[in-house]
């Protein structure tokens, strides 16, 4: 780290201009094209593709990954300032001064995401072939997965905020479809709806941000916005930043929009691994890092970002401690880890690269652990309650090893990946202030505690199975992706951080600053390591040394609160749902009584009057003639009166 000097402090707003895509880079559109075509075929071709559909899905994702790798090496061959490539596909919207081209932007940041999405995505596709093999709707599942990959790639490759918004919504749609994949289950249907609705709140923030950008800068393209970011007033930048943060909170399940993520675990486990751990929930981090030019110029917004990240970090960790459902515990951990990333992203140039680094690494180990959890569930008749697990290590040694790699990585035990990424964030946090730093360290300690709890409850301790389970190792098609991810969890951090490779790689986009600490970074690493080991030891002591109750004990107040997701749902229900219900009920009442009453009343009045008036239609010609004569008399009378 000492090789790093302060001279390497690129500012993002002097990022090199994008060059038009040519040669190799004109393949960029294929990144999205492959999975999109896969999704189209799988979803439109119908049952005829049932037999080979899942392999097509894997192929589409893998092809996209191959293209990504090729583009990555092509980018490595470019000079540092010509690595930002823009591919113009077509003019999307051109109304007066409002021009939105359908442009893809490939730079260091987006290629990092592309590699993560397609790489982890492909592994999860492969894993799903085994995991979903008994599901009659497997083909549709792969169609949704491909749709998700395509949308996510569009999100990270878009060259303007409006196109990003399209991908953003596509990701939300795919997430909704996948969470509710088993929609015959009431809980899954409700969870998918909840995720969608909570995401809409965040989407509102993003759309507001896009509109504010257009008002402020007259443009929604990245270059157009970021180039003018310095010249705009700070208040408008702050508002844009807060709106972007609201969008990020929705997609990344950050406080106060965190409530959907835990319920989203109703989806199939590969979905949890791909969407709700590795990729989609990181979209918020991407958004903030991508908009670094705005946040750099809006310190207030940055502070809010840090606060949100810190709160979510602790919330997720506390919730993770209390959950007995293995997937929900992992989901709490995901919340917490993304809280780290958001916090880092809020620290400014000192944290962007670390946020992305942790994001990538987290993608490895969290996907690894989710797949491991899926493997355990697969073995345990789809049970998720950890209190009925225990000693599974003996039956599923490969899963134990791969999960263990992820476990050590999230704890941050050297040399596993999390050590490199999380420690950097803690250092950066301490450079910001002692409180923020302490939050991250405490978070790391709690993380160690609940992950240990999860790990030992599942793989160690006493056998607490239900009677009818017969654990067995998963088929190799599921094990191989887990193994690859385990290797990445173990070594990925070291490889990426070796010689600051990833930071230098990202620096042209995100900027980079070395954190300045009061104590040496080695001492810092020591402190956090001690805290982590203490947390892990506590977990070990409580859940391995002492027996675990098969039925969850009542627990103290904190435990009950954490089991209830820290009352996030209760607050939402009390603050939004109940008043909303009352509002709609009163509106229904108003509509039925007042509006309908007025309309129906007018109709009834006219109908009644007409019913009376039609009695004049007697059918007697002479009556009509009489009224005609009366009318003629009136006319004559009027004429005479006028003449007189």
């Amino acid at each position: 780290m000492s090789t790093f000097s302060g001279a390497l402090t690129h500012a993002a707003d002097v990022a090199p201009a994008a060059v038009a895509a040519s040669g190799l880079f004109s393949l960029t559109w294929l990144l999205i094209g492959f999975p999109l075509a896969g999704a189209a075929v799988l979803l439109l071709w119908g049952r005829r593709s049932d037999k080979w559909g899942h392999w097509l899905g894997v192929l589409a994702s893998a092809a996209s990954f191959v293209v990504a790798v090729v583009l990555f090496f092509g980018m490595l061959g470019q000079a540092d300032d010509s690595r930002t490539v823009r591919q113009h596909l077509f003019d999307w919207i051109a109304v007066g001064t409002f021009n939105v081209p359908f442009d893809l932007r490939l730079d260091q940041l987006s290629i990092t995401f592309v590699l993560l999405i397609t790489g982890v995505g492909t592994l999860i596709h492969i894993y799903s072939v085994g995991y979903m093999s008994h599901d009659p709707e497997r083909r549709k599942f792969f169609g949704y997965l491909n749709l998700f990959v395509a949308s996510m790639l569009l999100l990270v490759l878009a060259d303007n905020f409006l196109l990003l918004y399209v991908g953003w919504e596509g990701v939300g749609l795919a997430s909704y479809l996948l969470i509710g994949f088993w929609f015959v289950k009431q809980s899954a249907a409700v969870a998918s709806k909840k995720a969608f609705i909570v995401n809409r709140v965040g989407d509102l923030g993003l759309s507001l941000a896009v509109m504010l950008m257009f008002i402020t800068f007259g443009s929604v393209t990245f270059d157009g916005v970021f180039a003018q970011a310095g010249s705009a007033s700070e208040s408008s930048l702050t508002w844009i930043g807060l709106a972007l943060l609201l969008g990020a909170c929705g997609k990344s399940a950050q406080f106060p929009l965190q409530s959907w993520l835990l319920d989203a675990m109703e989806g199939p486990t590969p979905v949890s691994a791909l969407i709700h751990a590795a990729t989609m929930v990181t979209a918020g981090v991407y958004l903030i890092v991508r908009s670094n030019a705005i946040f750099n110029a809006a310190p207030t917004a940055q502070t809010v970002v840090v606060i949100v990240g810190a709160i979510t970090l602790l919330m997720g960790a506390i919730i993770g401690c209390a959950k007995d459902d293995i997937k929900k515990a992992l989901a709490g951990s995901t919340m917490s880890q993304i809280g780290y990333m958001i916090l880092a992203a809020g620290l400014g140039p000192v944290g962007y690269a670390f946020a992305i680094f942790h994001l990538v690494v987290h993608g490895f180990f969290k996907a690894d652990m989710f797949l491991g959890a899926g493997s355990v569930m697969h073995a345990m008749n789809d049970q998720v309650g950890m209190r009925r697990f225990g000693t599974i290590r003996s039956w599923m040694i490969v899963t134990w090893i791969t999960f263990g790699a992820g476990y050590l990585a999230i704890l941050g035990i050297p040399p596993f990946a999390g050590f490199y990424s999380k420690d950097r964030i803690i250092e950066a946090a301490f450079s910001r202030g002692i409180v923020v730093g302490l939050v991250t360290v405490i978070g790391a300690g709690i993380t160690a505690f609940y992950m240990t709890r999860l790990f030992v409850m599942t793989f160690h301790g006493k056998k607490r199975w239900t009677d009818d389970v017969h654990p067995h190792e998963s088929p190799s098609i599921m094990v191989v992706p887990m193994a690859i991810l385990a290797v990445l969890s173990a070594l990925g951090g070291f490889l990426l951080a070796y010689n600051n490779a990833i930071f230098e790689w990202l620096a042209p986009v995100t900027g980079f600053e070395e954190p300045h600490l009061a104590i040496s970074s080695l001492g810092m690493e020591g402190i956090s390591l001690v805290v982590v080991i203490a947390g892990a030891a506590l977990g070990w002591f409580l859940y391995d040394r002492r027996p675990v109750a098969e039925i969850a004990p009542a627990g103290n107040f904190l435990t009950r609160a954490a089991r209830a997701d820290l009352y996030g749902d209760a607050v939402n229900e009390a603050v939004f749902m109940r008043p909303g219900q009352y509002l709609t009920r009163s509106l229904v009442w108003v509509d039925q009584r007042v509006v309908d009453g007025a309309v129906n009343g007018v109709a009834a009045t006219i109908g009644g009057l007409s019913g009376r008036a039609r009695r004049m239609q007697t059918g007697f010609t002479r009556s009509y003639a009489l009224s005609m004569l009366g009318g003629a008399a009136l006319v004559v009378a009027a004429l005479v009166l006028v003449r007189l």
């Binding site: 007697t618 059918g619 007697f620 010609t621 002479r622 003639a625 004569l629």
Partner: protein, 99 residues
């Protein structure tokens, strides 16, 4: 001779005709009353022709006569047809078109 006397007569005849249309039920008599009203109008036309000293009023009266003749022909044919089917010439009995 004061021309307004002719017009008064015309008004009286017209009113009698109208009253007949209103109170008589026999379709043929009603028709006669209509003819009486037309004749009253003709008288008014002819009187005004003399009042204003030109012949247009008489020509109009002539046309009224032609139209009235046509009307009588068709109207009586209709009454005949109705009588054939309903065995009645009362205008009150053809009252199906009502509320």
């Amino acid at each position: 001779m004061n021309p307004s006397n002719y017009l008064y007569l015309s008004a009286v005849l017209f009113a009698i005709g109208a009253l007949g249309v209103l109170v008589r039920r026999n379709a043929i008599v009603v028709f006669m009353c209509v003819e009486l009203m037309l004749n009253a109008c003709n008288l008014a036309f002819v009187s005004f022709s003399r009042v204003h000293g030109n012949l247009d009023g008489q020509v109009i009266a002539f046309f009224v006569m032609v139209v009235a003749a046509s009307e009588v022909v068709v109207g009586l044919a209709i009454i005949m047809t109705i009588f054939r089917t309903r065995r009645s010439a009362s205008v009150d009995e053809a009252n199906l078109l009502k509320y």
